[in-house]
Every structure is written in structure tokens, then in C-alpha cells.
Symmetry: C2
Subunit: 241 residues, 2 copies
Amino acid sequence: MKRSPSAGAAKAKGEDAPAQGQGRPARRRLSPDERRSQIVAAAKALFSEEGIDQVSMRKIAREVGITQAAIYQHFENKEAILFVIIEDFFGDLLEALSSAIASEVEPLRKLRAGMRAYIEYGLSRPEAYRLVFMTPMSGLVRAGVAVPRTAEATLQPSKGALAFNVLDGAVREVVNRGMTRHSSTDLLAEAIWAAGHGIVSLLITHNEFPWTDPAKVIDLQIDLLFRGLLHEGCPMRTGMF
Amino acid sequence: MKRSPSAGAAKAKGEDAPAQGQGRPARRRLSPDERRSQIVAAAKALFSEEGIDQVSMRKIAREVGITQAAIYQHFENKEAILFVIIEDFFGDLLEALSSAIASEVEPLRKLRAGMRAYIEYGLSRPEAYRLVFMTPMSGLVRAGVAVPRTAEATLQPSKGALAFNVLDGAVREVVNRGMTRHSSTDLLAEAIWAAGHGIVSLLITHNEFPWTDPAKVIDLQIDLLFRGLLHEGCPMRTGMF
DNA sequence: CAATTTACCTAACGGTGTTTATTTAGGGAG
DNA sequence: CTCCCTAAATAAACACCGTTAGGTAAATTG
């Protein structure tokens, strides 16, 4: 509708314009797929360099060499970009978790390796971790993170769900072998996840805190958790496992 | 300096104006202290009602009945407002922690009560908790949260530091009685804090996750942690403690 | 070659935090 | 009781933000 001419008149001259060579427009058209991945790549880069809230549509567009409005040709909104970044994050997490667990044979070692991998992965991608696990987001984005354990009506399992299932599987193996005092796999997996998340998120957000030694806190956390997990007489409780 | 007249011309008419009765301005002047607490109160209220990122200077100002610029007479910027909210948060946390610990006599129970109180307090103030423990902030605000364990050159201990010291004290008592396998009080306190934080923050941010039962996860987490904490033969390990 | 689709741009909307210059209320001094 | 001065409050603007409407032109399709 546009309201009216509105006398905007004396605005700044070259507002946006993606840095053209000379006088000719020479607007370059790219295939949608190419642009899409350009945009995601730029967003990802800015993202881990400058932090989450510093990533604006305008900055992304400038980086790619188009105007901000052009992005909306390829993504519905800003969250849609974050969504694919989140999917990538979960994809890599899934891989890190799976290979860590696969690298061990003994169930307990598998579980511990998984927990370690989670923590290390999170700390290696602090900005993405913050986005995925520490930021309030809309339902749409949430859907990519959520872990619908009831399979009802969910199109296909999100990568987040798959990642959680890997952890859950490692816990299940330990439980099935009767190694724990506790029986609820789900509950255990949630508690272990929470503990790992606590360390990662606290180290990320409060890295100015005078931590005695982050590595040692991680070790201690894992030690406490696993020691508490096992039966009294379990031979694995003594000595490092 | 104002650059130039700049031809702003045809702007909307009544832009702000804090809802006057009639034609008369009748601008009410308040004492600085009164206004300050008005502003903080309004910010706090909006804050827990609508969420952190929905609190704008304009909304706060509207709530108080002044224009947004007037706030800057009383606070340097938005973070300065958040800072006093954070201080309040820590004040209440300190109280909750202290009274929980004081309500028990046995060191282990003290520590456990403290952890429980921390978790419950955090869950009861999700928005503030998110602000304090999950949001990246400037150094200024950080200073109010930080826990300088080295006493060097810190004007006076922040309330955050005091709160951590309370936890630290409860841990120290357990360590001093030789009840744990571990000797580093600081390390233990950090690990316990991280575990508690993990649960609170995960429940706050991912409350759409199909948690088996939040209360049970909390119980399990605490159980695992404390069971892992104690010596093998410790009588308190068996049965609830 | 003509028609259609669509990637892109320009311009704007309403919102944000913050700053500048100006008005005006209220208290103290003469 | 007036004058004046301090400072609380204002109006207007700045530069940014996410998003949208409408037009232009390039590529693709018939």
C-alpha cells in the first residue's frame, strides 16, 4: 500500500548497493542453490567470528555481495538460516558422538567416550552451541532441536533426535548389562546430558570465572557421575575406567 | 552538533508523550531515587512477564510514564539497569542458599540442601536465571556476576561471589571431614555447580524436550553426584541421605 | 522470438539502543 | 516573592535492526 510519497527526500545517496565495479549495474545472477549455500556459509562465518547477536541480515548480505532483501528470496526469514546452521551442528555432533562411542568396545567406556566427545564438541563450537542449547527460539527452529521420543506424527527424526538417541543407546547398553543401580535409561541419559551441558554452557558463558582448571572440572564431573552410576561392588569402580 | 536541518519534515505527529491527562503538560518530577526504583521495578516486571529480549527502553519508559530518553538521566545504558536486576537476583539466591544450608546440620545434608535450593531457585526465576547465567554480556555486567577468588584489587566481593562462597563453604565442610574421595574443594564446588546449572538451564531453554520427569531427573542427578562423591565404605552412601 | 518466471534492487515500515539540544520544574538565594 | 540555576524530562534525530512491497531485468521456457 505504501501510505504516501512521505517526503523522504534528502536521504543519504548510496544506501546499500553491493559494491559494484563501475557504472554498469552488471547484476550477477546465481543459481538458487549456489546463493543459498553462499548465504549459509557467510552466516556461519560471521557467526563464529563475531558472535550470534552480531549477525544481521545486512552483514550477511554485504558479505555475500547482495542486498539484504535479496536474502528473502532464498530464506523465509533469519531463523530459517539459523535452522540450517543448527542442522549442520547436529550433523557434526552426531558424527562426533558416534565415532567416539564406536572407538570403544566396553559399554562403560563407550558411554564415557560419548560424554567426553559431547563436551569437547560443544567447547569447540561455542557460538553454535550457544545458539542451539542456550537460546530461546521459535517453535520452527525448536523443531529442529527437539527430540520427539514418541514417534507420533513426526515426519522424520530431526538430527537432534538422532544425536540424543546415540547417547541413549550407549546408556541402554550399560543398563542392560545390569551395571547400574538405576533402571530408567531415559532418566539416566537425561541426567548425564544435563551434567555435560552444565559444564559446556558454564565454561562458554562464564569463561571469566576463575576456574581452577576446566579440564580437571570435566574429569571430576565425569568421575563423580560414573562412580555414582555403578553398583557398589562393581570392579570397574576402582581404578580408572 | 546535529549535522544539519536534514529535512526531516513530514514526520508522524504525536510520537511519544507519556499519556498526559489533558492539554496541560503537567510533567511530574520525581526524586532520582524514586525514579530509579520505579524504572528497575518496571524493568523487572516486564522482564519476567515478556522475556528478556522483549524488554526495550521504550517499553520500560512507557510503563513508568516517561520518555525513553529520560531513563538515561538515571542509568548509563540498558545494561546498567540489568546490572541492578542481577544484583537483586544474587541477593535472593544468596539468601535461598544460606537458609537452605542452615536448615540442616549434617554436612552432607547441608550440601545437598544447597544444591536443591540452587536448582529450585533457578527454576523459579527462569528469565533472570537466563540473563545471569546464560547470556553473554559486557565486562561491566560480568563484574557483578564474576567470582574473583583471588581477592586482589576487587573493591568488594560481588553478591555472586558471596553466593559461590556459600556453596564452597558447604563443600569444604564435607571435604574437611574426610568424607570424599577428592581433596580439591574448589574443583568439587565447580563440578557440583556445573551439574546443577546443567539441569536448570536445560529445563529452562528446552522445556519442549520430552523430559521423562524433571523432578526425577533432578533427584537422579543429585543422587549420582553424591554417591560418586563419597568414599566406598561410607555409611551414608546407602539409603537416602 | 515472445512470454513467463524469478533473482535482485530500491525504498520504506516499524522497531531497537543511544545522543543531542532544548524546555521546564523546583529549590535555594537574594 | 522574585530570580536563577540545576537537573529531570522532552522532542528529534542517528544508525542500526528484521522484514515487506513493488519494480526491473536477467534467465529460462514455450
